[in-house]
């Protein structure tokens, strides 16, 4: 087990998760097929995919909870099959459901898990206090968890996964079913952990979350569809888009934009044009000029914020077809 404090974690660079052809079948049904990739120390790695894509199965294999049917994986240098117990010592898992004991207090829940990880009493108390304070739960430590809101329970479950200071933290849908406010708090905490050098493996189907938090993402639909930083994936698989917000969209303006040689496509959304371009940085000025020349009154121009979502949908729909 890691005995390091957060500040003593090694710097980024070492590969802490390695998958090689990792596959899993359930009664002949393929859940995960041939996953091969590596995760570096200190990065937030996102696993994106629709429901049933194999995200949870992948996490369970990497946490040595279930065995792969084929292929292999190592976490912090430990084989997930041959050194399962060792793997479970160095990882922390936040499952999809927090699974806390509602009848026990927050402190009792954490103390129980700390004991299972074999933390000595001093470190147990120190870590519980430190993490509870970090998430503003210290004052509620003696309250039964059943009285906590869903967001507080999720934060507590993250603390539980962190107590033994794992080298890799697996978070399975950490903000699912949380209110926007609670989800924001959890995301901020994840970023704080990243700043402390923690390696985080994040399963999500929230693309905004993936784009905001992850250094790299893998898009999964039973098999790996794409892998790279959100920016790389957008560049590789998505078309850059520019949103032009106008005072009024007219048919003439739409036709004028369609007529521009460098425009790949135009969509109208209310008083906004979403224009697919090859290279927005060089083509945006000409686009705006053309609109103004036809009498268009431009309010403002922004890059389309949904690029990763489009990339994701394109890849996932392509794999389903």
């Amino acid at each position: 087990m890691s005995q390091q404090g957060i500040s003593e974690l090694p710097t980024r660079g070492r590969e802490v998760i390695e998958l090689e052809g990792l596959s899993r079948e359930f009664d002949g049904r393929v859940a995960v097929e041939g996953l091969t990739f590596k995760v570096e120390e200190g990065e937030i790695f996102g696993l994106l995919g629709p429901n049933g894509a194999g995200k949870t199965t992948t996490v369970r294999m990497l946490c040595s909870l279930i065995r792969p049917t084929r292929g292999r994986a190592r976490v912090c240098g430990h084989d997930v099959v041959k050194e399962a117990e060792r793997v479970r010592e160095v990882v922390g898992l936040l499952p999809e459901n927090p699974g806390l004991y509602g009848e026990l207090s927050a402190y009792e829940n954490l103390e129980f898990h700390a004991r299972l990880h074999g933390l000595p009493e001093g470190r147990r108390r120190e870590n519980i206090e430190r993490f509870l304070r970090m998430l503003d739960l210290w004052e509620r430590r003696n309250d039964p968890v059943a009285t906590f809101s869903r967001g507080m329970q999720q934060k507590l479950a993250i603390v539980r996964a962190l107590l033994h200071e794992p080298e890799v933290l697996f978070l399975d849908e950490p903000t699912a079913s949380l209110s926007p406010e609670a989800a924001g708090i959890v995301r901020d905490f994840i970023l704080e952990l990243k700043r402390e050098g923690r390696t985080i493996f994040l399963c999500t189907h929230n693309l905004y979350e993936a784009e905001r938090l992850c250094d790299r993402v893998a898009i999964l639909s039973t098999r790996l569809l794409a892998l790279g930083s959100p920016g790389e994936l957008k560049r590789r698989f998505g078309s850059p888009r520019t949103e032009v917000h106008l005072e009024r969209v007219t048919e003439e303006l739409v036709e004028a934009v369609r007529g521009l040689g460098f425009v790949r496509g135009v969509e109208v959304e209310g008083e906004k044009l979403v224009v697919e371009l090859e290279d927005p940085e060089t083509q945006n000025p000409s686009l705006v000029e053309a609109l103004v020349r036809r009498g268009g009154r431009v309010r403002y121009v922004t890059p389309s914020p949904h690029a990763l979502e489009e990339t994701y949908l394109r890849l996932v729909r392509g794999s389903e077809a």
Binding site: M1, F26, R60, C63, L65, I66, R67, E85, R86, R88, E89, V91, G92, L93, P95, N97, P98, G99, L100, Y101, G102, E103, L104, E108, F112, H113, R115, L116, H117, G118, A157, R160, A161
Partner: protein, 260 residues
């Protein structure tokens, strides 16, 4: 095997169980029932009533005693078999909450993600149901002994309990029935997703006690050494067999994938 971690699981389960109202009521009510109510109801009328005739003696009456002594001794020994019901019912109540309850509330996955081995986890959970059950059984037995001895001292002139049979029932049979009950509950947990249904099915572990009670009460077998040894063996084998089955069922992968 790390005893401190096994004990941590057991302690948590005991702590959780006593915060469930129904479990707590059971743990308080059962000792009162067994230590006061049963001996008073079953013995008081016989001790204070008229001397029974030889013809009225039940089939399990011991020879060499006066008719009243024989009826009282037989009634005490039959009542002792209730101490096989106790360790069957209490662990199934606790284990239903800690196994099925945890399964339904999806509390098992975080537990399975710890470095505990499957066996350590299973032993911890078994211990968590076993310890309170045996404590309550012992406490009830102590109360039973005091009540019985107070009631029967004028009749026998000496404390009747504890005798060899009572020590055998409480010291050997009860833990075995307990183990059988918890193991059965693990098996039930893998198929059932309702705490009450699990409790009802878990009550099946009273069958050995019930069978022995009927055999004794009907005079089909006597309370002699050979019969008791045979019963102990059957109970031991059944407990060991069910524990092996429970161990085979209680594997991480099985729990996560197959337990519904």
């Amino acid at each position: 095997m790390r005893p401190d971690r096994i004990w941590a699981v057991a302690r948590k389960d005991m702590s959780s169980a006593r915060r469930h109202r129904y479990v707590l009521y059971g743990l308080v009510a059962i000792p009162l029932l067994f230590s006061l109510f049963i001996p008073l109801v079953s013995l008081y009328p016989v001790v204070t009533g008229e001397e029974p005739s030889e013809n009225e003696l039940p089939p399990f009456a011991q020879p060499g005693l006066s008719p009243r002594q024989a009826v009282v001794a037989g009634t005490i020994h039959l009542s002792l078999l209730m101490f096989l019901v106790l360790p069957a019912v209490i662990p199934s109540t606790i284990a239903s909450y800690t196994f099925v309850g945890e399964k339904v509330n999806r509390q098992l996955e975080p537990l399975l993600a710890t470095p505990l081995t499957d066996l350590e986890l299973l032993l911890g959970k078994i211990l968590g149901a076993l310890v309170p059950s045996l404590l309550v059984t012992a406490l009830s037995f102590a109360g039973f002994v005091i009540t019985v001895d107070l009631l029967t001292h004028p009749l026998f002139g000496h404390p009747f309990l504890p005798d060899l049979l009572s020590l055998l029932v409480v010291g050997v049979y009860s833990p075995l029935v307990c183990l059988l009950s918890v193991s059965l509950c693990v098996l039930i947990s893998s198929r059932v997703s309702d705490v009450r249904a699990a409790m009802q099915l878990g009550a099946l572990s009273v069958l050995p006690a019930l069978a022995l009670y009927l055999l004794f009460a009907g005079g089909i077998v006597g309370m002699e050494g050979r019969t008791l040894l045979a019963f102990g063996l059957v109970l031991g084998l059944a407990s060991a067999g069910l524990f092996s089955l429970a161990r085979a069922t209680f594997r991480r992968e099985e729990i996560l994938i197959r337990w519904r």
